[in-house]
């Protein structure tokens, strides 16, 4: 049994979790586009506030949000620091930096803040999309929205077997440690890890063959049957209208 559960918050009962997946994806995607197009700090700030509200409504725990958000923050923060020094405009003299003879520009500072704010706002909305439904539900919804069937199957099966590969990897790593293997930064470690990885690929191939046989034996002919898809209800439309309204609001602010 795998205890690795990246979807542990996808089964909460918040209004966002209960939102029909297709309506949720389209609405939030439009919101991300409007955030990405925000041209002023005012628009971006309002967008960030809306994104925070969505996270609060979704009841995702702070620890989960901070864990996810550290990656966009790590990417965006250096940008926000570098842009003021590289963008043209009115230079602002800072006594601290005078000895280095570099000065940030006022327009650059604003641009840096704008990039940081709208980037974080868009990442928060993306977090809401991926964390409020199981991955497979999101992928099925994307298929309904036009994602090609072959890609859907690829994502679904890859996702299912990530857990198995994770189990295999853990078993192999346990077995290597039992036989005295200690990870070091030498050539032998690289060689052992490369061989372990090769074994994992071979096992993956054997597993794929087994799965393919199993699918064929149950009548698979290239398409996955779709059963029990949700229907969009009135309150899903209301939620979508509210988010689309917010997206339009950001654009015309």
């Amino acid at each position: 049994m795998s205890h690795f559960d990246p979807e542990r918050y996808s089964r909460l009962m918040s209004p966002i979790h209960l939102w029909e997946p297709r309506a949720r994806i389209i609405s939030l995607f439009v919101l991300i586009i409007s955030l990405a197009m925000a041209g002023s700090i005012r628009q971006a700030t309002v967008g960030l506030i809306i994104s925070f509200c969505l996270v609060l409504i979704s009841r995702l725990p702070f620890s989960h949000v901070s864990m996810f958000m550290k990656w966009p923050a790590i990417f965006l923060l250096p940008l926000a620091v570098i842009v003021p020094f590289t963008a043209g405009g009115d230079k602002v003299a800072l006594p601290v930096l005078s000895s280095l003879s570099i000065a940030p520009s006022a327009q650059g500072v604003l641009l840096g803040i704008l990039l940081l704010t709208r980037g974080l706002a868009a990442a928060l909305v993306a977090l809401v999309i991926v964390s409020t439904a199981p991955f497979t539900v999101t992928i099925r919804a994307l298929e309904d929205l036009g994602l090609p069937g072959s890609l859907t199957q690829l994502f679904l099966f890859s996702y299912r077997y990530v857990f198995l590969l994770n189990d295999e990897l853990q078993t192999m790593s346990r077995s290597m440690r039992c036989k005295g293997f200690v990870m070091m930064s030498d050539l032998n470690t690289i060689r052992v890890l490369a061989m372990a990885l090769t074994m994992l690929f071979i096992r993956s191939y054997e597993r794929a063959l087994g799965v393919f046989y199993s699918m064929l034996s149950r009548g698979y002919s290239g398409e996955l049957p779709g059963i029990g898809r949700c229907k969009i209800k009135c309150n899903d439309f209301i939620k979508s209208f509210l988010v689309l309204g917010a997206a339009l609001g950001i654009c015309f602010l």
């Binding site: 049994m1 299912r160 046989y213 009548g219």
Partner: protein, 276 residues
């Protein structure tokens, strides 16, 4: 007419190793047959031929009177269900319910019929409460039963099981045996490949010993009670049969060689009565 008829089946693995060397085998309707053989004897390979997943280099395989060939594959796979040894091969959909629905949905049944079959199959294996769970969060025993449910939901006329009790705890093994017997009682023909000689008397009426070809075929009692035959193929007799055969060699005779616990208890009672 036999439900399954295999004649002179020869199959080589892609690396040219001979896997099946002229197998001849028949199974009748509502019969439960055990396939026994050492590792590499060709049990799993033979099972894959019954579902048309592998095709022999020579010989014929007929199921319900029809040849296993490309034009019959769709028909065949509705009638022959195969449960693989490793349940993770069989559980590839996001949730258990979707996995169990996969076969019936491919049979183009209506959504209501599919749901009805999913509930029935999951109820049969006692997993109906876990239908929305992801397969990777099930225990091994649950996965084994889930794999069976994925095939039961297709209501096949022939059920082919590859090591259905391997790595199961004793209670789960007996539950599996009871399930197999109840399916047989409802008219399903069951072919089981297994190493578990102690369980064979409980789950099969007839046993086939395989060693790339059929080495022996007969009633389970007749085959499992033949020490020379079993040991000649690298197999062991069931522990009860082994014990009573040895007692027989020491002139402690029993009327029959017991294969199951109940039979052994009766035989012990009989021996005690005679000697007291």
């Amino acid at each position: 007419m036999s439900i399954i008829e295999i004649e002179d089946l020869v199959y080589y693995y892609p690396d040219a190793t001979l896997a099946l060397d002229g197998v001849n085998f028949q199974a009748e309707k509502s019969e439960s047959v055990a396939l026994l053989g050492a590792n590499g004897a060709g049990k799993s390979t033979l099972l894959l031929h019954i579902n048309g997943l592998l095709r022999g280099h020579s010989g014929t395989v007929k199921v319900l009177g029809r040849m296993v060939e490309d034009k019959n594959l769709r028909w065949l796979r509705r009638r022959v269900g195969i449960v693989f040894q490793d349940p993770d091969d069989q559980l590839f959909m996001p949730t258990l319910a979707e996995d169990v629905a996969f076969g019936p949905a491919n049979m183009c049944l209506s959504e209501d019929q599919v749901n009805e079959r999913v509930n029935w199959a999951l109820q049969s294996v006692g997993l109906v409460d876990l239908k929305e769970k992801a397969s990777h969060h099930l225990s091994f025993g649950q996965k084994k039963r889930a794999a069976l449910a994925t095939v039961l939901s297709m209501k096949p006329e022939v059920l082919v099981l590859d090591e259905p009790t391997s790595n199961l705890d004793p209670r789960s093994k007996m539950q599996m045996v009871l399930l197999i017997r109840s399916l047989q009682d409802s008219g399903t023909t069951i072919i089981t490949a297994t190493h578990d000689v102690n369980l064979v008397p409980y789950l099969a009426d007839r046993t086939v010993l395989l060693d790339k070809k059929v080495a022996a075929m007969g009633s389970t009692r007749q085959i499992l009670g033949n020490r020379a035959l079993m040991e000649g193929l690298g197999l062991e007799m069931p522990i009860l049969a082994d014990v009573f055969e040895r007692l027989h060699e020491e002139n402690i005779h029993s009327p029959i060689t017991p294969m199951t616990k109940d039979e052994a208890i009766d035989v012990v009672r009989e021996i005690l009565k005679k000697n007291w």
